[in-house]
């Protein structure tokens, strides 16, 4: 089954909206005739039946379930501590107070350091940028090699990679730590970048291999007849066609690497701890009274980058999810 999430069609919104609201038969007649002609998706809506009301009730509850935590998070971050202690978690803040945000960004404490979550933010940037670029480069090259060049043993290489993608990190971590210590890289920026490239390799290879497998082999053959070699065909023919999958790969890797916790915790070293690790330290290992407004502001700040990617990329994000594990 092939999935093209981006092509999911817009339903004729106006029509069903009107039908849902209006009680008069006259008003309903026109849009429903229109609907007959338009290519309908899914079942035809029945106007204002019990089922339709139930449907919207379910939608409302579901939307509340998904939205509420974010709303509470934002509200809490704008309150003062006394407000939080005395009021309801759902109450609106009395004033628009950004103190907690400023504090979270620039002076929140993790242990003895009180330089705020911004340290983690910049660490995450410094980790994410090279890791994303390097893992995409590696995955694209390998995916291209696997899908067009018949190399002996390539099947086995790919099988190991796929298997690796599904195995828990715990199986690899300790020996890796030992190996990096031996070569003196452990707890450095290079170390965490290399680790991200290694663990990003399966998914990157998979999506590029799938993408290239979907291109016509004839294109590759034509380039071979034209005299192109491995890198020439890759660079001049395949890469210029790869913009969509490069975007998908970038979205996947930026969010994956930014959201990573365990690898950053183990490999990055004290100097380079990514934002997620710092956030957890700020929230879960503070001494004394917990500043929930600050915690929530820091949490929002940590989620901001992947959320921004999500909102900007829209349906590309979904494509990225689907690209990962659909078909071989």
């Amino acid at each position: 089954m092939s999935i093209d999430v981006t092509s999911s069609r817009e339903p004729p919104k106006g029509a069903s909206a009107l039908a849902f609201r209006s009680g008069s038969a006259n008003e309903r007649a026109a849009p429903s005739r229109q609907r007959e002609k338009s290519p309908t998706r899914g079942r035809k809506p029945k106007h204002l039946t019990i089922g339709r009301v139930g449907l919207y009730a379910f939608v409302a509850v579901a939307a509340a379930f998904f939205l509420l935590p974010a709303v509470v998070m934002v509200l809490t971050s704008l309150k003062t501590m006394p407000e939080i202690r005395n009021g309801s978690i759902f109450a609106l803040p009395e004033s628009f107070d950004l103190t907690a945000w400023v504090k979270a960004w620039s002076s929140a404490c993790t242990g003895l350091n009180c330089e705020g979550i911004r340290v983690g933010f910049w660490n995450s940037v410094v980790i994410t940028v090279p890791s994303t670029i390097a893992s995409i480069a590696a995955g694209a090259t390998l995916g291209y090699a696997l899908s067009f060049w018949r190399v002996k043993g390539a099947d086995i290489l790919f099988a190991i990679l796929l298997l690796g993608a599904f195995l828990p990190y715990q199986i690899f971590l300790y020996p890796m730590v030992r190996a990096f210590s031996m070569v003196g890289l452990y707890n450095t920026l290079a170390c965490i970048v290399i680790v991200h490239v290694i663990f990003g390799l399966p998914i990157m290879t998979l999506i590029f291999r799938n993408f290239y497998a979907g291109l016509p082999v004839e294109l590759f053959n034509a380039a071979r007849v034209d005299g192109g070699g491995f890198f020439r065909i890759f660079w001049n023919v395949m890469l210029p066609m790869s913009t969509p999958i490069l975007i998908v790969a970038a979205i996947l890797q930026i969010t994956n690497i930014w959201n990573d916790f365990i690898l950053g915790l183990v490999f990055a070293g004290r100097e380079n701890l990514p934002m997620t690790v710092q956030l957890n330290n700020v929230v879960n290992s503070t001494y004394g009274e917990r500043e929930y407004n600050l915690n929530m502001a820091a949490t929002i700040l940590t989620a901001a980058v992947p959320l921004l990617v999500y909102f900007v990329s829209g349906r590309w994000f979904v494509r990225g999810i689907a690209a990962g594990a659909v078909k071989g």
């Binding site: 294109l219 053959n221 034509a222 071979r224 034209d226 005299g227 192109g228 210029p240």
Partner: protein, 394 residues
């Protein structure tokens, strides 16, 4: 069956001794009487599955050879092997007097046109045409000259700055042909180049390719499953099935004297009518006894003298049957019309002979209706007889 096919191939041309040509034939003028493709004892296997076994094929210079067959018959595999796009298991491939069995595609002196056009989507027409030349490091002036010549030849002048997506299907395929032409090679390979086009364009481009061949005189190897393309374009057709060349010969011969029942049924539309029968010798020669009809075979050209009592399959093409009475040397019988299919220029009349359905191709404006009884006749000299066991022509 294999022996049958290979006897048709032309004398093996030039041994290994062709002149040790310098670089690629890039600079050489096309059709200088030297070029030819020779496939010797070719084996191709995908894993344990043998696709082509022991295939031999000699193509003289300047010939337009069509590889024809149903899908999966190995024709594209053979073409890709000649192009060097897949590794062969055994045998040799010679192009232009050189053993290119293990040479890179670019070093074989071939140009290739693909079914899906395979144009580089992010390059404009000009860059598509010149990509290979740029890779080979040709001087800029030379590249420009060649692109200019080819784009004039194919009327691509106005399209040079366009991307493939901005071209129509016919234009795309002309660019694809142009990409093969700029390489200045002696051998062109076509892999079903017209099958993605609609019927009208297909006819137009077919004519263009034919003209191109007449003008350039290159060797062309053309893969198709469309018998009309094969019949109209080819100097010789190689009909393939199951990785084996069933028959190799000029179109007329393939049509007139198919070597076996497969070739007979694959060529022609509507297909040849077949009837089970038995051959009996008579005083004047032989006859074939069908179920309820006996057709005299005195005028049929047997390959070997007929044996009496042999089970045979009798075939006659719909267009070789005429309605009504005809000269006495023709075989005449009658039948009831089951169905009439008007096709504009022609009408196909369905009736029956010897208990089996029979189609007759006749005028477009016939007044025959289902239920009528008609008389029809054919010349047994036009018929085909095949051995019922081996399917080979008798």
């Amino acid at each position: 069956m294999i022996a049958e096919a290979t006897t048709h191939s032309t004398a093996r041309s030039q041994g290994a001794g062709g002149q040790p040509d310098k670089s690629r034939p890039g600079a050489a003028a096309p059709a200088d009487g030297d070029s030819s493709v020779s496939v010797r004892d070719l084996d191709i296997a995908f894993g344990a599955h043998k696709v082509i076994a022991g295939l031999n094929l000699e193509i003289p210079p300047g010939e337009f050879l069509v590889l024809l067959g149903p899908s999966g018959c190995g024709k594209s595999t053979l073409l890709n092997a000649i192009a060097g796009l897949l590794d062969i298991s055994d045998g040799e491939i010679w192009i232009d007097g050189k053993n290119v069995t293990w040479a890179e595609p670019k070093d074989r002196g071939i140009g290739m046109v693909f079914q899906s056009y395979a144009l580089y989507p992010r390059m404009n027409v000009e860059r598509n045409l010149s990509f290979g030349l740029r890779i080979s490091g040709l001087p800029k002036a030379e590249i420009e000259a060649r692109v200019k010549r080819v784009s004039e030849l194919l009327q691509l002048d106005g399209l040079l700055k366009r991307r493939p997506a901005e071209l129509s299907g016919g234009q795309r395929q002309r660019v694809a042909i142009g990409r093969a032409l700029v390489r200045n090679v002696d051998v062109f390979l076509f892999d079903e180049p017209l099958s993605n086009l609609d019927a009208k364009l297909r006819n137009e481009l077919r004519v263009e390719i034919k003209k191109l061949h007449q003008r350039l005189g290159n060797t062309m190897i053309y893969v198709t499953h469309d018998q009309v393309e094969a019949m109209t374009l080819a100097d010789r057709i190689a009909v393939m099935r199951g990785g084996v060349i069933q028959q190799l010969g000029p179109p007329k011969e393939i049509y007139r004297r198919p070597v076996n029942r497969f070739v007979a049924s694959f060529i022609g539309s509507p297909g040849m009518n077949f009837f089970d029968g038995r051959i009996e010798t008579t005083a004047s020669g032989a006859e074939v006894r069908l179920d309820g009809a006996t057709v005299p075979l005195d005028r049929y050209g047997f390959k070997r003298p007929p044996e009496g009592g042999r089970k045979a399959i009798f075939g006659i093409r719909p267009e070789h049957i005429t309605l009504g009475e005809t000269p006495p040397e023709q075989f005449t019988t009658h039948g009831m019309v089951d169905l009439v299919e008007g096709m504009g220029a022609d009408t196909i009349v369905w009736t029956s002979l010897a208990g089996a359905p029979l189609t007759i191709r006749t005028d477009g404006d016939t007044a025959i209706r289902p239920g009528e009884t008609i008389r029809f006749s054919f010349d047994p000299a036009n018929a085909c007889l095949f051995d019922a066991e081996t399917d080979l022509r008798l």
